[in-house]
Amino acid sequence: MTNSTNNIEAVDTIIENSQVTPLLRDEIDQYQVAYEIQKGDIHTTLSLLKNAGWIQLSYLSAIDWPEENKMELIYILFNWEQPVYVQIRSKIDRRKPEVPSIIQIFPGAKYYEREAHEFFGIDFPGNPDFDKQLILENWDDIPPLRKDFDPSSYSKKKFPSRTYPDQFSKKDPDNKTREKQTEREKRANKLRTGGGKR
């Protein structure tokens, strides 16, 4: 059983021996490490890690930073022999987000890229159908997981909620509430015991 700090050191040696210079390195806990790299180095890093054994792409998604005007793409890779989650992050421009597709390296990223396009608006040239709809149908607003999308105003506009009158509890003029309650209890009891008495 290899020690997991050795695994993280293995990842470090792979990254240092290549031409990629990471901007940030963060060791999150015993089994996770995150690197932030430039946008142009994504393909080289992913190919290197895949050849070294990180063959599973666990997740591909994005985070929206509207103040810095950037979107951060995240790729999470996993190795089954030396278990370490490696997060590869890179920041791209928010006004026109575009990242070359990675389906030559990980063919399963096809659907992740469709989802990222639908929810964030990121384009992936190289993926033949990245703009086909996957989850949302007939969507007519900005991509919903961006931070400047307001779900409750969209919901009020499209799906009107129920209006309750001010006095919606009807006061009982004959005061038969008690009788109605006992009758409902009797019926519930009958259903619970199948007709016999408790």
Binding site: Q133, N138, P160
Partner: protein, 191 residues
């Protein structure tokens, strides 16, 4: 693919028809077949209601596999617009008379997802609902109570959602169009 063979029909008019419909009401309320459209979390309350503890079969009800054979469409939980399009197709394919029972508080006013951008807030505007069973989620006993309410509604002729759908057809279609866009399904399997 539009919903097949749906035509607006005139409902029961004459008096002799009424007598036959009363006898039919006895049969209809004592053997209801449900199509369990398990959309959301409330569907987990259905297996206890069907199995040995709160037996549903002694009331005559049972699960059915297809919408054409079923009487009740059981909507359990929240509905996204994607599901609602398919639900309206399903509702229009059932044979009449048909009833809709809504479980949980999500079809009543949106429930805990009321300000989400993909959950509709009132089921009543798109499909006529006969019985609501409130709760989040309701007990199997409340579920059975709701079904007995439906049976009494059939006896007193107040459970007439299907007639309302015929009479106010344009209003329902208008609401569906406002919230859902269009009712034709565009996805990889239908084209």
């Amino acid at each position: 693919m539009l919903s097949t063979k749906y035509t607006k029909k005139d409902v029961v008019k004459t008096k002799t028809d009424r007598k036959w419909w009363e006898i039919g009401d006895y049969f209809r309320r004592n053997s209801l077949w449900m199509l369990m459209y398990c959309t959301g979390c409330c569907a987990i309350e259905l297996p206890p209601a069907m199995t040995a503890a709160y037996d549903m079969e002694r009331l005559g009800m049972g699960p059915m596999a297809t919408p054409r054979q079923a009487d009740i469409l059981l909507v359990s939980g929240y509905l996204s617009p994607k599901t609602l399009r398919r639900l309206v197709y399903t509702y229009e394919q059932m044979s009449e008379p048909r009833y809709v029972v809504a479980l949980g508080s999500c079809p009543i006013n949106g429930g805990i997802y009321h300000d989400s951008h993909v959950v509709i807030n009132q089921l009543d505007q798109y499909v006529p609902v006969d019985v609501y069973v409130g709760g989040c989620m309701p007990n199997p006993e409340s579920l059975l109570n709701g079904f007995v309410d439906l049976m009494e509604g059939i006896k007193n002729k107040t459970a007439d959602g299907w007639k309302r759908y015929h009479e106010h057809y344009e209003w329902y279609k208008e609401n569906q169009k406002h919230s859902l866009g269009e009712l034709i399904i565009h996805d990889e399997f239908h084209e």
